[in-house]
């Protein structure tokens, strides 16, 4: 074999091996996506906390937002661009950016929707966090360890729901009438709703659910006999941006 042939053949076979490798890599990635997406389907026995909001019963109730923000020491910052929100209200267009299913619109367009962290089955924010400050708990809650947050804001870029806020300034001067039971945050930290994970072990429902009375139902989505499963069964409900495959745990019953 002449030297040129030898080189040609070895480089070609090298390319072939590299090609096979990349195909294998893609197949592996596909498997990973399929696997993570499958966590959306309920598995019996395990807990996955979820929230159902009855949008018909839900009238504008500032008490719900106030209850959450006061209890969690969420600062009230007047500057709109630097606002910090764990739970907030917006219209259908903002809530479901793809718009409502056609012909469903009408009265729905004028309804107001409560928006909060969706505690996704497949959370993009958890994937991008470089310090694992945000992580998914086994009960489905996407939680934050504020001690670890370095304020890189990758999670804010990744979250398609705008559920995360950044503390551009020291929030201390903007804190509500101080609530000593829950810590505040500091400058340079991202914060968001945690489904009141500090209240659940005590057997209490989240503050928003408590304030909303019957307009919000909190419970275990994996338990077919839970109140939330009964409420969702056989009724038309929407989740925000299902096309992204994040698998939200917050349902809007129409």
């Amino acid at each position: 074999m002449v030297r040129r042939d030898f080189l040609r053949k070895t480089s070609l076979s090298g390319l072939g091996i590299a090609g096979l490798g990349s195909i294998g890599g893609f197949a592996g990635l596909g498997g990973l996506i399929a696997r993570t997406a499958s966590t959306e389907t309920p598995t019996a026995g395990s807990t996955r906390w979820g929230l159902a909001i009855l949008t018909t019963d839900f009238s504008r109730n500032p008490e719900i937002i106030k209850a959450c923000h006061q209890a969690h020491n969420v600062p009230d910052i007047p500057d709109k661009k630097q606002k910090i929100k764990w739970i907030w209200e917006d219209n259908a267009q903002a809530a479901f950016s793809e718009g409502l299913p056609s012909r469903l619109a009408g009265e729905l367009e004028t309804r107001s929707f409560l928006l909060l962290c969706n505690h996704c089955a497949n959370p993009a924010c958890v994937r991008v966090c470089p310090t694992r400050a945000t992580f998914k708990r086994s009960d489905g809650i996407v939680a934050m360890d504020y001690h670890r947050c370095i304020g890189c804001r990758f999670c804010m870029a990744a979250c398609p729901y705008g559920a995360r806020s950044f503390n551009f300034h020291n929030p201390a001067p903007y804190l509500p009438a101080s609530h000593p039971a829950f810590p505040a945050r500091m400058r340079g930290v991202v914060e968001k709703c945690a489904f009141c994970s500090e209240r659940l072990p005590l057997g209490l429902a989240p503050y928003c659910v408590e304030a909303a009375k019957d307009a919000m139902i909190f419970g275990n989505l994996n338990d077919p006999d839970s109140e939330i499963s009964h409420a969702l069964h056989g009724r038309l409900s929407l989740t925000r941006r299902p096309e992204l495959g994040t698998g939200p745990s917050v349902y809007y019953i129409l």
């Binding site: 020491n73 992580f135 708990r137 009960d139 939680a143 360890d145 504020y146 001690h147 101080s178 000593p180 039971a181 829950f182 810590p183 505040a184 945050r185 500091m186 930290v189 994970s197 500090e198 659940l200 072990p201 005590l202």
Partner: protein, 126 residues
């Protein structure tokens, strides 16, 4: 040997300066453990005082990970008593005077923990 005088005085001066912290320390006062304001009405913390004095920071780190990562909010101590894992409410529930308890020791040991960047101070006496 050349310049013996200069070399020897230089060496002496160097040794005097180099060992000065040691000598100066002999003149200074001894470190005194600051007097801490202990909680009124409570006799024992969840572990012996010596352990708490030396290792409370480690315990707090463990508590942080238990509460936030594992979602476990209850802690049973060696004597079988149960405590809610909560710096702001459980610890500060008894140790409610930050300046006279926490800071007194932290300041004299030149440590500045970042607990109170977020955790609110107890609303006890201040």
């Amino acid at each position: 040997m050349y310049n013996v005088k200069a070399i020897l005085t230089g060496l002496l001066v160097f040794m005097a300066i180099f060992t000065s912290p040691f000598w100066l320390n002999q003149l200074g006062v001894d470190y005194k453990r600051p007097a801490l304001a202990m909680p009124v009405g409570e006799k024992e913390c969840l572990a012996p005082t010596d352990y708490m004095r030396g290792e409370h920071m480690r315990l707090l780190n463990e508590w942080r990970d238990l509460a936030l990562r594992q979602g476990e909010r209850l802690y049973t101590d060696a004597r079988g008593r149960t405590w809610e894992i909560n710096l702001q409410n459980t610890c500060q529930g008894c140790h409610n005077d930050r300046a006279a308890f926490c800071d007194a020791c932290h300041v004299s040991n030149s440590v500045s923990p970042y607990c109170w960047n977020c955790h609110l101070e107890a609303k006890g006496k201040s």
